[in-house]
Amino acid sequence: MPVLSAERISKRFGGVVALDEASFSCEPGEIHALLGGNGAGKSTMVKILCGVQPADSGTITLAGEPVTFASPRAAIARGVVPVFQELSLVPDLTVAENLFLNREPRRLGFVDRGSMRRETSALLARYGFPAIDPNVVVRDLPLADRQLVEIAKAMSRDPKVLILDEATSALGGREVQHLFDVLRGYRDLGKSIIFISHRMDEVRDFCDRATVFRDGVDVGTIDVDRSESSEIVRMMIGRQLQDVFPPRPARPAAEKPRLSVENLTWAPALQDVSFHLNEGEILGLAGLDGQGQGDLLLSLFGVYAGTSGVVRMDGEQLSLNGPRGVMARKAALIPEDRKTQGLILPLSVRENIALPVLPELSTLSVVRQSVENNVAGNIIRQLSIKTPSMHAVVGRLSGGNQQKVAIGKWLVTKANVYLMYDPTRGIDVGTKQEIYQLMRELATNGASILFFSTDSEEIIGLCDRALVMFEGRVVQELGPDQLDKEHLMAASLGLVAPEAIPA
């Protein structure tokens, strides 16, 4: 009997189907991987399993008994303990205080610090991390050690099912091997581990079985030892491209580079990133989630301090000392989260659109209303933004129309370089197509677009070229003849010939 099984789980977010009657089950004494590309539904599945989100329909069975977890606390109490990539440690408390938070050993009503420290040392030693000092404040620990403490905290609750969601992302090779040895010992006690990782070699090395997800559906469960990587990749790829992308015009014989980046580094997120972005080109940034694509866009927009490397725009050096300086050189960033970074939600459509160009619209610091109205009206018409009026509050528009405003406010600046962070995430198909059209129009009119998307179809369908990133490096550049799912997925999983990786 499986210890934990999910049957026909469905989950929608607005118009987007994240899971569509997906199922999988995990046996006792098994390490079970969940695999899939971006948006395949594996993260949603994990969140439902451990009570972070409720499912719309379907059943979860724990040791033969149907369960619903109203909160992470409820799941933990029943022995389903997650470790997430976003850490859940309290930074200003020590390692020992974090491990025993809310279940501190007491003596005479007071916290028994001595025994808390000793038990922490013993726990860390038992789990194979004896080098971590229980008295250190978590804020002072390196990221890798924090991740180990997080795992130790989860294991100290003696879970039936331990869920590791990208929990090894900050660990180096030796630490991972060591952790795997500890976890294999744990499995041999009859416990189960559900493992999600973007590193294919870890899945091969560590897991017994794997369930592959695609477009919210489980495509199949395989024995890891008896399956080829190419077979797994094929399962993850799935359906054919739909004809939703604008035609790709031929590239000019002589490319004119607009942005050239040499050895851009912001350790550890970005390592020696070099590439050219040409005039009139849409350059895709691909790879699995969180491989440094977002960090590359933010550092090019000047958000990160202490980057090294050289960035040139139109041949002249671009200093990355803040968004204002980069904006002055005619670049724009469509940020990751339109609600917190892209838009000022309580302000009107008009005010949001005018925000980047207020000085140009003003005389003696007073904004000329008529000009502001013109500018906003033009953008609303150009992008067919559906809003009751330009004075409507942006927060009340639909997600797709909000995103149009977030893009439109940069069109006003007549930027030459657009850095786009997953601009079609969470919006409906119709609006997506309008945004694709708009991007191609911008490129045809000479603008250059560096386009990060978590949807590999967009990279393939829309881009002129693509850079594949893995763990902070550009591991492969895919030209027009290589822009297909096989190349993209293989490169995203780090399955490239070693000579393709720049030294």
């Binding site: 859940s88 309290v90 001595g114 971590i132 250190v136 202490g306």
Partner: protein, 339 residues
């Protein structure tokens, strides 16, 4: 055991506890400022007697007690603007309940009533903040007006009846040498040492440091916050008791300065208004620094000519200390996170 701990400690690689001086830099800075002020005072004062000590010790004590309460609210990432009004209310309750016919009994009853009012007022703040999900700054601003209004009703004009000889028990000299308020300070330090070892204290700092992680670790955030503001109100009322002993009268306007001064004191002592950081030991230095600034300035001619400018110097010292503590922000490499 300590030896064994030390032996284990030496085997840890990589991150170890940072040196004491680094970990407590803000507190050490606060004491450095305080010691400089004390040295100047000692140099300039015409004679430095036990009475001088007593007056310094008494002047800072009300603020020290109020700051202990404020520190707890600040450690959760909150703030309590009603501390000053609660000091005033406590002061007025004790003075108005005083009965010259029966001084001891009325004084004891008055103190009990004041402390109960403090705890209850703080409890109400906590309920509104924790259950009502209202912002602490606005809840306590409103409740502060309410407490101040009640204080005026209880004691419309300065006065009331407080027995001097009893007040001397807290504010006088022991063995003609040692200010008795020092014993109050020692009692508070003992309380703090014990409180730091309670689970409640860990929870308070956990919530201030990362409320989400605290919640995910099973901490009852609502109850912890209610407890916190209850304690804050209690210590504000206790500060009112000491103020009563010092002034031997009730005045609805005498306590109001302690709201902002207690915030300044805990921040001077190294607390972060973002929560999760700060100690009572630091707040003591902050409180006495704020109280000493006017006394020290009084010895300087440039100040005597414009005695109203003491607030100016308080402000400059506070800004300098806070700026020194904020230098670390330049180590953050994501400019968005520096905002």
């Amino acid at each position: 055991m300590a030896a064994a701990d030390a032996a284990v400690q030496s085997t840890y690689r990589g991150a170890s506890t940072r040196p004491f001086v680094v970990r407590n830099a803000r507190v050490i800075l606060a004491y450095a400022i305080l010691i400089v002020l004390l040295l100047v005072y000692w140099q300039k004062a015409p004679q430095f007697t036990a009475r001088e000590w007593r007056s310094i010790s008494n002047q800072g004590m009300t603020l020290t007690i109020a700051s202990l309460g404020q520190l707890l609210a600040v450690a959760t990432g909150g703030i309590d603007l009603s501390v000053g009004s609660m000091v005033a209310l406590s002061n007025c309750i004790i003075a108005s309940m005083g009965d010259p016919e029966n001084p001891d009994r009325s004084l004891a009853l008055g103190i009990v009533a004041a402390l109960a009012a403090g705890a209850f007022g703080g409890f109400c703040n906590g309920v509104l903040i924790a259950y009502g999900r209202l912002q602490p700054i606005i809840v306590t601003l409103a409740s502060g007006y309410i407490f101040a209004g009640i204080a005026l009703r209880v004691q419309p004009n300065p006065g009331g009846s407080v027995p001097f000889q009893r007040a001397d028990l807290l504010t006088g000299l022991q063995w003609d040498k040692v200010p008795r308020s020092l014993f109050v300070l020692i009692a508070l330090l003992v309380f703090w040492a014990l409180f730091k070892r309670t689970a409640l204290c860990t929870r308070i700092y956990a919530i201030g440091s990362n409320e989400g992680a605290a919640y995910m670790s099973g901490i009852d955030v609502v109850r912890t916050k209610i407890w916190t503001y209850t304690l804050t109100g209690f210590f504000a009322a206790l500060a009112g008791v000491f103020l009563t002993a010092q002034t031997a009268s009730g005045d609805a306007n005498a306590g109001l300065v302690y709201s902002l001064n207690s915030i300044a004191a805990v921040v001077l002592g190294g607390a972060s208004l973002a929560g999760g950081v700060g100690t009572f030991v630091g707040a003591i230095a902050g409180a006495y620094t704020l109280m000493l600034i006017p006394s020290v300035l009084f010895f300087f001619d440039f100040y005597k000519q414009r005695p109203l400018s003491q607030e100016l110097y308080k402000g400059l010292i506070l800004l300098a200390a806070v700026s020194a503590g904020a230098l670390g922000v330049w180590r953050i490499r994501n400019r968005l996170e520096r905002l």
